[in-house]
Amino acid sequence: MEAARDHGAASSRGPATLTSEVSDARLVARCRGGDDDAWRELVERFSRYVYAIAMQGFRMTEHDAEDVFQEVFARVYERLDSLREDEAFRPWLGQLTRRVCIDRLRSGGREQPAEDELAEVAEEDVLSQLEEAFDVHDALAGLPEHCQEILDRFFARDESYRAIGEALELPAGTIASRISRCLVRLRDAYEGRNPPAAPSSEQVK
């Protein structure tokens, strides 16, 4: 059944809505209280994460990924009360998404692979990098809006200099330098939140 299945364009919402000043825990609490606006923000905040786990972590087709995406958020909506610690929403969501992906693979397969075999289908390296990618996007959300916009458009939305220039009304010649400056700001912001591990004493010697 394909009623109203929509493979429309990627979300056009600006990168400023990737995250906001409201913590995950607070947002979850508001959702649990029936706040529809909070629910919309929660979906917006984590939509890329769920999408990436399905598409990159489990290499699903768009068709399967869409089913997983909707099923994950339906389960979140139904089971939010069972979340023990609101601060742990993201790992809970990540685990839930993996579970739904595995269920989907199982239901679509002709054979019935064992649980551990299904788990191996996941690209563990990719899933681990997605966690880091989410942290980087969090840091990105703390940058000025013009930096969020240009970095998101160029790297996440894969837009050309020309498309970015037209959308942001910038001369094409300034885009590369702006991207470069914004990346440096992002690196500084990210390092501030995630200081690199100090070298071991052996390395210092």
């Binding site: 990627a10 880091e132 990346l183």
Partner: protein
């Protein structure tokens, strides 16, 4: 050199492209859709004729009521009205 070099950061930004807008919108509308489903189910329980129409042609019956038959809505109603 920084532990978080620019090239790595660029790649990490690119790992989270936006999900298709329609998917996001459908998920965002879930609470409203659930309320709509609850209303339809309640009416089906109280109105046998409406219930029969739903079972016979779910999409058509919803359209006749002015309700867009999105697939999550149809899936949920099939589970609850049968």
């Amino acid at each position: 050199m920084s532990a978080y070099d620019i090239e790595r950061l660029s790649r990490l930004i690119g790992m989270l492209p936006p999900a298709p807008e329609a998917w996001v919108r459908a998920a965002q509308e879930l609470p409203a859709a659930r309320r709509e489903i609850d209303g339809i189910v309640a009416r089906a329980e109280a109105d046998a004729k409406f219930r029969e129409a739903l079972i016979a042609d779910l999409e058509g019956a919803l359209r006749a009521e002015g309700v867009e038959p999105t697939w999550p809505l149809l899936d949920e109603l099939r589970r609850r009205v049968s």
